[in-house]
Amino acid sequence: MDVGQYIEIFINETKEHLQSLNTQILELEQDPENMDTINEIFRAAHTLKGMAGTMGYKKMQTLTHDTENVFSEVRNGHIKVTASMIDVLFQCLDALEEYLANIQNSGDEGENDNEHLIRALNDILENKSEDAGEASQTPADAAGEEASVGEKKWGEIPLAESELHVMREAVKQGKNLVGITVHVQESCILKAARAFLVFKSLEELGEIIVSNPPVQDIEDEKFEFDFSLILVTEAEAEEAVKAAAGVSEIESVQGEIISLPEAGDRTEEATEDLAEGCGEEQKQAEEEPAVQEVRTEKEAAPAMPAAPAAPAAKENKPAETKKGKPVVNRTVRVDIEKLDVLMNLVSELIIAKNSLVSATNAEEASITAVNEQIEYLESVTTNLHESVMKVRMVPIESVVNKFPRMIRDLQKQLGKKMELYMSGEETELDRTVVDEIGDPLMHLLRNSADHGLESAEVRRERGKSEVGSIFLNAFQEGNNVVIEVSDDGNGIDVDAVRAKAIDRGTITEEQASMMSEKEIIDLLFLPSFSTAKVVSDVSGRGVGLDVVRSKIQSLSGEVEVKSRLGEGSTWTIRLPLTLAIIQALMVEVGGEKYAISLGAIQTIEDISPDDIKLVESKEVIHLRGSVIPLVRLNEVLDIASTRAPEDNLVAVIVKKGDKLAGLIIDNLMGQQEIVIKSLGKYVNKNKEISGATILGDGEVALILDTNALL
């Protein structure tokens, strides 16, 4: 069976689990005693292990297995969560992410065994057994070392001294030792998965001390059709048998309480017999207490409806078929409700089309009837567009969720105290934008952490709280999504930037004296400009901010910074909600049609030529108390205006951040939904044109980039 078709699901789900582990472990660090968190982590690790095992990723499975063991101990209260342990766990998550990245890129988990991590995890476990003498169990994999192959019954499970010790302890505490042998149906395709489920249901009752074959082999499906194990539980044998038999495709389960074997004696003796009232299987077990030769019992017993074979099997490593190729397409997970809405709209679209056809075919095609249908069609397509857009939208949560962890790491790296406050994680953006926005945000956060925040001593001197704050806020504003990254640190030292710019020859001293603070700060976005005196690992190489800006511009967004020396700075990223389709105002300039994105437009004003004033030989108007520079589009676009100079002018007031400008056009044509097309090579160097669109009559109209015009 090929697992290729499940690899996407595997990758998506693994990502989710890793993210949840990251979040939970961070929480655990704050609140090491929180049982809910610990349980949550344990569950996530357990699921991860199962998934990796099913998909045949052994190294990943081993690592998660050991991680899970640690949590199992934590959950049982045998070890305490320590800072060093958290560090190791985070490293494990990183390693798992690396495996995942490898799988995503090549279909193979890679060669890295991460032995040091496994050792570190085992160290944590061993320390526990020294610290807590009365620990009642040992990690299940310890049994693996001792196990021999070929035995069929729980009586044949080879027991190591450590396990015997655990069993003795358990009996002392009044717990039952239950030996269980499980037979899997021969038709079962996913033996390992079934075994896994049996283990899972049994672990709800108690601890599995040892199994034969060892857990690792069972997970690798290295067993025939049965396996045996010993469970330490407070429950009765029948309860355990029932739990195990509850799994699909299990032929039969035998189990009973066993007595403690003599130390060194590797054979089992069934002493206590609590079989009364047990199921059919139980009796079966009684009849052949410790007979080694008897192989599998084919009982008709608890006929569990055989579930259809679970999708994922593990015979084939996906690596063998897909090596070297990226195996995953970019996907969006869509809420089924959104799809229903889409489906309905498409049905409506078909109805509209049919009505339109019949309206035009009618004997006397009346123009009103056709118009009516066209209006209907229009409303349907608008709704359809909106819904499709919504389908493409995903919350930015998936990106920002990794930041708390990053800040935690930075805290250690930089030796500063800081706290990240996030809000608006649920804000939705187009999938393509969300995919791209992670890096720029990371840059800005690192920038804030490294350059922005002062060291604890400086902060104390300045009367600030020792712990620096970094804020990440996201919200929707009109057609845009705004993401702000701010800090309460030092802010940008404009003088230092100016000095640096002059020093580097970016600007002359003369220019510098003419420039406003804002313009100086904008210099930071130039390539290879860094004011950090020391290049650190975190930032200061001067590759950051210009990359941030170009990335955001490529997403048709913009980035701004406001700063107050000593109080902190705020970086504002503004992004369009979606890239493909926009609402636009169509205008005419010199007989040519242009589109202006509605999102950028503030108002449309009718102005008389007399209202135009000259400031520094540039045309401006006064509008409701503010002075707005005018841009004559016909000049920018190099074409003659069709308006007589004495006529009133139409100005489209557009804004970019805080800046406003009035674009003088010849005629307004109206609002329209337009599909953005790229201009392709040759013409894309044009700053003032951001793209093109195809109008209803097939003609091409250019889209003005108002940001470039300001």
Binding site: E592, V636, L637, D638, I639, K677, S678, L679, G680, K681, Y682, V683, K685, N686, E688, I689, A692, I694, G698, E699, V700, A701, L702
Partner: protein, 150 residues
């Protein structure tokens, strides 16, 4: 069915007329030939870029082959066509030509490579010459023609 036979030792060209000269374009590069249509002007670009057109829902740039080769400005007539060329790196681009004549099959042996006069504007545009009836046809290297020069 001789006409459909593929001769590995010959190449097919579309012959175009520009003024009284003939040029050949390798047929494999040609995506489409469309009639002259409305071209949307793009401001502030090189003069030989006439603008953009809508070809089956895609927007693509159109160049004047005349201006590119240093000839005088196009005069659009009934026979003016836009030849859509698919280039390896630049994607699709249209060239305005005076007239499209026919498809010409040239034996590779009959194609004569030429060295070019470096003084010419059309430096490197013509890579070879072939016979076309009574006259000659200059074979264009479209990748070089489409190259943007500063």
């Amino acid at each position: 069915m001789d006409g459909l036979k593929v001769y590995a030792d010959s190449t097919q060209f579309i012959v175009i007329a520009m003024g009284d000269e003939y040029f050949g374009i390798d047929i494999n590069l040609i995506d489409n030939i469309v009639k002259m249509q409305h071209i949307t002007r793009v401001p502030n670009v090189a003069p030989y870029i006439k603008g953009v057109i809508n070809l089956r829902g895609e927007v693509l740039p159109v160049m004047s082959l005349r201006l590119k080769m240093g000839l005088e400005e196009d005069v659009f007539s009934k026979s003016t066509r836009i030849i859509i060329i698919r280039l390896e790196h630049q994607g699709m681009v249209g060239f305005i030509v005076d007239e499209v004549k026919e498809v010409l099959t040239l034996e590779n042996a009959a194609i004569e490579k030429v060295g070019y006069d470096s003084k010419e504007v059309r430096e490197g545009f013509v890579y070879a010459v072939g016979n076309y009836g009574e006259s000659l046809v200059s074979l264009l290297d479209m990748n070089t023609v489409a190259l943007e020069k500063e």
